[in-house]
């Protein structure tokens, strides 16, 4: 089972190391980890995607809460959150497959953001499953490099009463 943890932490040096260290020390998985500053410059938000059984996923939350640099831990279920991942893919192209690549790019709402005579770079911003699908569709093409940000997520918008 996968779970998304949105972890608000003190924006200090060494905090990323402490949180990542917790995962390795307790043998928890990290599928992806994204860190960025929030609107409050003293607070960073880490979005961590992890997988494991129920017991492990509960332990992760408890152990994160125990860290003194962690301000708040929120967990999201997929149905109640919006998640996105940014991916850049550099591919080689030629006259024969150029159209195909452009079509796939179009269908999956990606964008060509850079180009040379033999290579092009495609950007995709979507849910992680679509990023996977995009890579699968490009399997026939020769991929030079891929860079992915990992998942960021927020819970869905609700009207506060």
């Amino acid at each position: 089972m996968k779970k998304i943890y949105s972890v608000l932490v003190e924006n200090r040096s060494g905090v990323l190391c402490k949180v990542a260290g917790l995962f390795s020390r307790r043998a928890f998985n990290i599928d992806s980890l994204v860190v960025g500053e929030t609107d409050d410059p003293t607070v960073s938000c880490m979005t961590i995607v992890s997988s494991g059984d129920d017991h492990t996923l509960e332990q992760i939350e408890k152990q994160l809460n125990k860290k003194l640099d962690v301000i708040k831990v929120k967990t999201f279920e997929e149905y109640d959150s919006v998640s996105r991942e940014l991916m850049l893919v550099k591919v080689k192209y030629n006259r024969n497959n150029r159209r195909d690549i452009m079509e796939i790019t179009d269908i999956l709402k990606a964008q060509i953001v850079d180009m040379s005579r033999t290579q092009m770079m495609i950007q995709l911003c979507d849910i992680p499953q679509r990023a996977e699908l995009f890579l699968k569709m490009l399997q026939s093409v020769s991929i030079v490099e891929v860079a992915r940000t990992g998942t960021v997520a927020l819970s869905k918008c609700h009207d506060q009463e």
């Binding site: 060494g14 402490k18 017991h55 332990q59 408890k62 125990k66 860290k67 003194l68």
Partner: protein
């Protein structure tokens, strides 16, 4: 005032009376500053023992133990001591010197990334960047170390920060940490659930861990047990949470525990774990305490609840507060037949050990020794066979029983006993170790002599690393590998070298006289208790 003087001032304001440590260039400004203070400094002989000594002091006084060492090897040597304290949740503030801030990261002489290296063994750590931060950081460190689930806090202070001038020293009155608000009081709904279950239970048992001692809840535990007639067993760290001779006490659980204690846990229909981690040595198969039973788990650390066993009723809070709240409920209970059954187990389920009568039996020796110690004496057990014999046979009354339970760090007893004696100079303090663990910290006999700390030390001598030998006997059919301690020194010479009285006990008929002589007077004594080299704990 400079940073170092501010550090000393902070310690004074926290009521610190003693610092254990070892100086080096990077911590010299601090050790210079402390000369102008009334805080006593104890020069330990190796840094690891500074943390153990601070731990001993913390465990008997309830105050935070403080140690201060230099950068690089001083700091890395301290790590085992920090990890030992962390495993047993002992409150320490460990100060390390660090190289000049501008040189951090360039691998200069005696530089070590100690905050990084110790990360998984500390409750929290600081690398001080500015002298102005010192008062806030020290205030926070002492608060963090001694609240919630207690533990060691590391403060790494670069030498230039120690030397930097401090414009204004203002010690904060309160701590304001948005990320740290430990739950102390138990939740009322959960408390009611516990009492409802207790009313229904036919065969309840309390398993008390080190958390009871850390919260100072011994008296409350005893009141609770007697008011509702609930038998008590303990983990190794919980020894002393209930007086050994209490009629409702049934011993230590676990794979080295008392058979009747384990039987009590197995047969119970309700188990109340309090301040215990449900770790492997205490509860080998967690399913045994969850299957067909109501499991109540009380702990101040929510992450411990459900980590190793899923409880029926989780209850987060400090043991003392929880017992206070639980005691307010009036319920009718009758557990007398259950207690009767357990008393029967205690009488019939006895040890199968058959010691060679021509040697001193360590089990009987420890039982006699602890029986004749003062009522409020402090007994410090080391690690190995001596620890298991101590756990099973030591009689604890109003005193304390200290040992390294979680980490099992050999060599703990002598420095910890020294720290305990310095913390409570009027108490009788006895350290019991093996000949392996003794040699891991015998350099501290010099510290004891230098600072006049009269600790009494027993070395249970079998010229083997006995616990490992016993394991190899059972697991590798007696193929003994690297457990022979020949070459060990003549302990009478060691005692003479450090100006200690020496007693050698070799025959069981001399036991009484030797113990009497050993306990006489408030002076340091070294006793070698020679036992059957092949003796086993089980």
């Amino acid at each position: 005032m400079n940073g170092a003087q501010a550090m000393v001032k902070c310690l004074e304001l926290e009521g610190v009376e003693m610092v254990f440590g070892y100086p080096g260039v990077a911590i010299c400004p601090f050790y210079d500053g402390i000369l102008d203070s009334d805080i006593r400094t104890i020069l330990i002989r190796t840094e690891q023992n500074a943390a153990h000594a601070a731990s001993g002091l913390a465990r008997v006084t309830g105050k935070v133990g403080v140690c201060a060492v230099t950068s690089g090897p001083g700091a890395t040597n301290l790590i085992t001591g920090i990890a030992t304290a962390f495993a047993d949740s002992i409150p320490l503030v460990c100060i390390t010197g660090q190289v000049n801030s501008e040189l951090i990261g360039s691998d200069v002489f005696q530089e070590a990334d100690i905050t990084g290296a110790a990360e998984s063994f500390v409750k929290y750590s600081y690398l001080v960047k500015k002298a102005e931060d010192i008062p806030r950081i020290f205030k926070e460190a002492f608060y963090i170390a001694n609240t919630g689930r207690k533990g060691p806090v590391l403060i790494d202070v670069p030498i230039d920060v120690q030397n930097a001038p401090l414009r204004k020293f203002a010690y904060p009155e309160t701590v304001n940490l948005r990320t740290y608000k430990p739950t102390v009081k138990g939740h009322a709904v959960q408390i009611k659930k516990v009492m409802d279950q207790l009313q229904k239970a036919k065969r309840p048992v309390i398993c008390a861990g080190g958390g009871v001692l850390l919260s100072g809840a011994q008296e409350m535990l005893s009141q609770f047990a007697h008011k509702y007639r609930v038998p008590v067993v303990t983990t190794m760290m919980g020894i002393g949470a209930m007086q050994t001779e209490d009629e409702l006490f049934f011993g230590m659980v676990g794979n080295n525990g008392a058979p009747c204690a384990n039987r009590a846990m197995n047969d119970a229909d309700m188990v109340i774990m309090v301040g215990a981690r449900v770790a492997d040595r205490a509860v080998n198969q967690p399913e045994i305490i969850t299957r067909d039973k109501v499991l109540v788990h009380m702990d101040v650390d929510p992450a411990e609840i459900g980590k190793n066993a899923g409880p029926t009723i989780p209850l987060v809070g400090d043991a003392k507060h929880i017992f206070e709240a639980l005691l307010e409920t009036e319920i009718d209970v009758d557990h007398d037949s259950w207690i009767g059954t357990l008393c029967e187990y205690r009488r019939t389920l006895t040890e199968k050990r058959r010691p060679d009568p021509s040697f001193v039996d360590p089990a009987r020796f420890i039982s006699k020794l602890s029986d004749r110690m003062e009522k409020d004496a402090i007994y410090v057990a080391d690690v190995g066979q001596n620890q298991i014999w101590s756990c099973k046979n030591c009689i604890v009354r109003e005193g304390k029983f200290l040992t390294s339970g979680g980490m099992g760090t050999m060599g703990y007893s002598i420095p910890a006993a020294m720290g305990a004696k310095l913390g409570l100079p009027d108490r009788q303090v006895v350290a019991v170790c093996g000949d392996g663990s003794f040699q891991m910290s015998m350099m501290e006999l010099a510290t004891m002599r230098q600072h006049q700390v009269p600790v009494k030390i027993v070395v249970i001598a079998n010229r083997y690393l006995g616990m490992v030998r016993e394991y190899q006997k059972n697991t590798y059919n007696g193929r003994y590998s690297v457990v022979d301690l020949s070459g060990s020194p003549d302990l009478s010479c060691i005692a003479r070298a450090y100006g200690m009285r020496f007693i050698r006990l070799e025959k069981s008929e001399e036991e009484d006289r030797a113990i009497e002589e050993f306990l006489r007077g408030d002076e340091s004594v070294l006793m070698e208790c020679v036992i059957d080299p092949m003796d086993v704990v089980k």
